[in-house]
Symmetry: C2
């Protein structure tokens, strides 16, 4: 079988240096075909040989399906604390570089837990709303199921995601290791506002303390305004009941807010005048500044984007056409634009955003790239509909220094070498 040669005859319009093509390539079939042709080979013998799996009936049906055994490497990477007594303290990261689209399948949604995943009997679980309310209320799962529901596709990102980039020297790491505390699902639940209005909010209430039913009793103070806005008490994740590692049977969803505030295994909401200064918002989840002070209560995750393809572990196989693809998001709203660069940020071209672009959800972006076979630095830069733009690494470090590990949202870089290997780089 021979390689087809028509891509050699093709002279696409370049939109930025080092091979970034005009998005028009995606819209005009003939251009794509010419650009992409390096991927196919002319058919030799026809018909195709009949594979062994067509010669006998396949497997029967399963009640609950699983991925192909050939995809056994598409798993979360687990980084628990080393002590077996604390096995549930740590993270399990989403393999972003092995996924596409925007939805994270439930088996691969990232998991950051502070004392493991409790095995909660839903019939025994209760949600209490109390504190500065006219009438404390307690809800069973069955009671919650009677309330009006809403669904929304929303990302959740750990405040510590990408924190590994806030070091003086770039360390090895792939998209999963560096950025994998990020996932996106369709969440369905009851508006928290509905439940709070039923309890009756006292005028003095300004905060709500949310507590989880894990052994850590993970607790965060949430402004009442957020609870009355778009907060959901979620029962469903991508259609089915919330997964145990994501808060079964109830998770608080605070769209756009840092991951740990989306309290898992939600059991208690206490309305208060001020924040409770829980261990989880004082010993952790504050943004350390160069002068030793810290920002507390930094809630929304900032506008951000990452390139998932190409990325470390996905080697390019020779010069030619590749699609640059990645994810963009903002805790403040919708993504308005993503730009890509193949020369370390010297020149930029707009990427295509996959519709629908939803507020506080992951947005898949794509851009056509003709790799010359030479070195390249791939970057992406997101802008949201509030006008916020993802900062450069230099801008970020100038403001925050190199000590903090939370809310890192600077432009990140993959260096492509002449072998087509990608690696984490500071540029």
């Amino acid at each position: 079988m021979r390689k087809r040669g028509n891509s050699k005859e093709w002279r696409p319009e370049h939109a930025a240096a080092n091979g970034i093509l005009n998005r028009r390539v995606f819209l005009e079939g003939a251009l794509v075909a010419a650009a992409a042709g390096a991927g196919s080979t002319a058919a030799g013998a026809e018909p195709l040989p009949v594979p062994s799996w067509m010669k006998q009936p396949g497997a029967g049906f399963s009640a609950y399906g699983q991925p192909s055994p050939f995809e056994s490497k598409v798993v979360r990477s687990i980084a628990p604390a080393p002590n077996p007594a604390t096995q549930g303290i740590g993270t399990a990261r989403t393999p972003l570089q092995l996924l596409n689209g925007t939805i994270t399948p439930n088996g691969l949604h990232f998991d950051r837990s502070h004392s493991g995943t409790p095995n909660i009997d839903p019939d025994q679980h209760r949600l209490l709303i109390h504190g500065l309310v006219k009438q404390p209320l307690v809800f069973t799962l069955e009671a919650l199921s009677r309330y009006p529901m809403q669904s929304r596709i929303t990302f959740i990102e750990c405040a510590g995601n990408s924190g590994a980039l806030n070091t003086a020297q770039a360390q090895p790491g792939n998209a999963q290791a560096i950025h994998g505390l990020l996932s996106c699902a369709e969440w369905t639940g009851v508006r928290l506002a509905t439940l709070l209005e039923e309890a009756g909010v006292e005028p003095s209430a300004k905060w709500v303390v949310a507590e989880g039913a894990d052994a850590a009793a993970m607790s965060r103070s949430v402004p009442l305004a957020k609870c009355m806005d778009d907060a959901l008490v979620c029962l469903y994740q991508n259609g089915e009941r919330v997964r145990p590692s994501n808060g079964y049977p109830i998770r608080l969803l605070l769209p756009g807010f840092e991951g740990n505030m989306n309290v898992k295994w939600l059991r208690r909401l206490k309305l208060t005048e001020g924040p409770v200064m829980a261990k989880d918002e004082t010993s952790k989840y504050t943004v350390l500044l160069p002068d030793g002070k810290a920002w507390q209560f930094v809630f929304p995750m900032e506008v951000k984007s990452i390139i998932t393809h190409p990325s470390p572990g996905l080697a390019l196989r020779g010069a030619g056409f590749y699609e640059i693809a990645g994810l963009a998001w903002s805790g403040q709203g919708r993504i308005r634009q993503v730009e890509v660069s193949a020369d370390g940020g010297n020149s930029w071209a707009p990427a295509v955003l996959q519709e629908p672009v939803l507020s506080k959800a992951l947005t898949r972006f794509r851009a056509p790239w003709q790799w010359s076979g030479g070195p390249a630095i791939l970057q992406s830069r997101a802008t949201d509909d509030t006008g916020r733009v993802q900062p450069t690494r230099a801008q970020f470090v100038a403001e925050r220094g190199l000590r903090g590990q939370y809310h890192y949202n600077a432009i990140s870089s993959w260096r492509i070498d002449e072998k087509g290997e990608a690696s984490n780089a500071f540029a």
Copy 2:
């Protein structure tokens, strides 16, 4: 703990007979709280007792997560042919009444297979494009991975879904048993048009025969126009690689077309002048009419809706507020409107459509309902953006008779009795 009584003081505006409320209930928090209050109970002792699972650390992390063991009944229902030699011939149905939102988690996506699920080695799998093309091409998975991708959230519905309703007398059955050959996922893949344009379509080509790599070599003829429009050669389902029972490693996606045409385990696309009259489009998947003739090549699934909550198996627990929720879809485009009735179609009120409403995707609708405790017949009626309206059962039967089992899209009914039990009814 006592029941709160404020719902008794509340007089909501009714939008249709037998308790269907105005959608405004969902928009005004106080109204929802009053309507929904029957679900909660006033808190007795505070604080809540500490459950056993908070007294010790929880489970550690898992590489690929699973649902809670308490959800072990949320599974597909399997209806294979009775002969063990044909274990892979039949269906596995999605438990629609136990899900919410619009995305079907991959483990529960319905599965209709004609000779079981082949265990395909992706490194050995090939896709051949041949027939009336300038240059036959063969693609490996790795080659396909280099092409530009698109993502879209799309329903797939088996042509035989709901066919159990096309009988003279209503039979017992829940939403899963009757309507469960219906699922929705975010699919990601390469535009088929891109691959066809690379091969070069001969002017005489008008059809494309798609063949699967199962032992049935499941084959369907697809109009070339559809292939050049929105067809995708999918590699990903809800972010991860397509599941084995849904076509791993490649599934053809023909948005809106009947399920079996979305050929699983896609291995061959042959461009032809006419349809090939494959066994799968002559012995099956034709629409039998009262006069003994049949419609062939009925591709798009018709505008349709079903109520998932309440539905058989989800008994109501006493008079009061309930949310009527369900799914609407059309193979022709977007859902424009869904109306609900609690009196068997004598009066109707519009439901709320969950945004975003996407073309050829499931749309979740919801409507507030104050159940009196008396008998009710719940129905939903969808209209799509082409103006097509879901027919009544009488209209459907008058045109099609009672012999066909495919493309049944009439309004369906759940009868609610005075105990709150729901059952399939013809009304």
